[in-house]
Amino acid sequence: MSNEHTVKSYEEELQFLVDSVIKMGSLTESQMVDSMDAIIKVDKDSIDKIIKSDDEINKFRSKIDTQIMTLLVKRAPMAIDLRETISSLKISQDLERIGDLSKSNAKKVKPLPLDLPEELLSNLKRLGELVIKQLNDVLDSYVNKNYDKAKEVWKKDEQVDDLTYIAMESVIDFLSKDKKNLDFSTHLIFATKNLERAGDHITNIAESICYLIKGEYLKGSRPKGKVIQE
């Protein structure tokens, strides 16, 4: 951001908004790490904590909404300030959805058997690691207002698609070997899909950041990887 506002409290309100988005982002990231961990380790004890942390994220969302309403009504922001305000609104919406998806994944741990085959989890783990890295990178690009990094994240979602495809295939493969696996395999398929959706929200965030920085939307359509037919 350039010079400071003549009105100091305006400057503080905008900074406070950005800080709230950063804090919300960091909570969302920890929640995603925890929920991935819970799935991979089939750690049923941590489910409640992860579900609870989603309440915290949702509270941030309402807080950010209130801050935005106040800014709009008090300051009628223009140009970069307007873009900062509007992107905070959009980014916080996407973060909230990511939080919901991590919560949903944590809930899927409950019916999983403790002796899941390693190869089944390894592909899901790779996907989870990539999505977490994407979330970390996109938040980093928001903090540092780094256009190139945000665009990189946007492009890299192609890899999320590819890993989703691989993880899905391995679950379907496992399922086809023995129909008894149907119950928990379905949960794993949903968990995989949730990670892919989280990846989409991350690209939305990357788009918002690019718009915030340059004032124009990314041109062209995002590169897409392999997709499982729904």
């Binding site: 350039s2 506002h5 003549t6 305006y10 922001p77 223009m78 140009a79 970069i80 307007l82 340059k214």
Partner: protein, 253 residues
């Protein structure tokens, strides 16, 4: 985009030794509203005063460069300034009706410009002008009352009616709403929206929100220079110049 109505080329204005405008090149489109913004003393009012040669009345003022309206240079010595001001009307910050009746406020211009020969012609001009200025319904039954007895907002619409009574092509507005309450302001803004169908309008305003609401094009002046000009939406969402951004976001100083 509409055709260019007014064109300034390398326009410089001096008040004695002090230069108020520096090489201003600005095109104003026909039947569009152009807003001029910038801090006090930046030259925006000086610029619009060049368009109807109001600066002529200031002895120490010197203008160089060109301003063309419909391709005709208006700084030409032989140009009839009275007929220029008939084509380019002006509305000021403070409503300034003549200390005369509402009717006379409107009919005075057409009379001196020889536009209304008979009483019925003048009646017709008064009614049409007041209707165009969205004031007719409020004053039609008291046309012989003094214009100065109207509310501030009504007085400003009376001044707009007075400006359009001589059928100008351009209307210059120098902070026309700064002395008005929000409702009166809204009425003027609504009126500007209507008037732009017929006239080319240039408005100087200190209200960013007003510039966004009423104009299609915005020019930002600073220290006598035109820093940036472009589509209003672009200027207020994503200006190219950092100085423009600093000004409209309140980071100046």
């Amino acid at each position: 985009m509409n055709e260019v109505k007014i064109k300034s080329n390398n326009l410089n204005v001096f008040y004695g030794d002090k230069q108020a405008l520096f090489d201003v090149n600005l095109d104003l489109n026909e039947k569009e509203v152009t807003a001029l913004i910038g801090p006090s003393g930046c030259g925006k009012s000086t610029f619009i005063r060049c368009i109807n040669r109001m600066n002529d009345v200031i002895d120490i003022c010197k203008v160089t460069g060109n301003i063309e309206i419909d391709g005709v240079e208006i700084n030409d010595e032989n140009l009839d300034v009275v007929s220029l001001r008939e084509r380019v009307g002006m509305v000021f910050q403070k409503p300034n009706p003549f200390p005369k009746s509402i009717y006379d406020n409107i009919s005075y211009g057409p009379k001196i410009h020889g536009k209304g020969e008979t009483k019925s012609e003048l009646d017709e001009i008064v009614e049409r002008s007041l209707k165009k200025a969205a004031l007719w319904e409020e004053v039609k039954d008291r046309l012989d009352e003094p214009g100065t007895g109207l509310s501030g907002g009504q007085q400003q619409r009376l001044c707009i009616a007075r400006a359009i009574s001589v059928n100008p092509e351009v209307i210059l507005m120098d902070e026309p709403c700064s002395a008005l309450d929000p409702i009166a302001t809204a009425k003027i803004e609504e009126l500007i929206d209507e008037l732009k169908k017929t006239y080319t309008i240039v408005i100087v305003t200190h209200s960013m929100a007003q510039a966004v609401r009423v104009s299609q094009k915005t020019g930002f002046f600073h220290l006598g220079k035109l820093i940036e000009v472009g589509k209003t939406e672009k200027i207020f969402k994503n200006p190219d110049n950092k100085m423009t951004q600093d000004y409209i976001t309140g980071r100046f100083g």
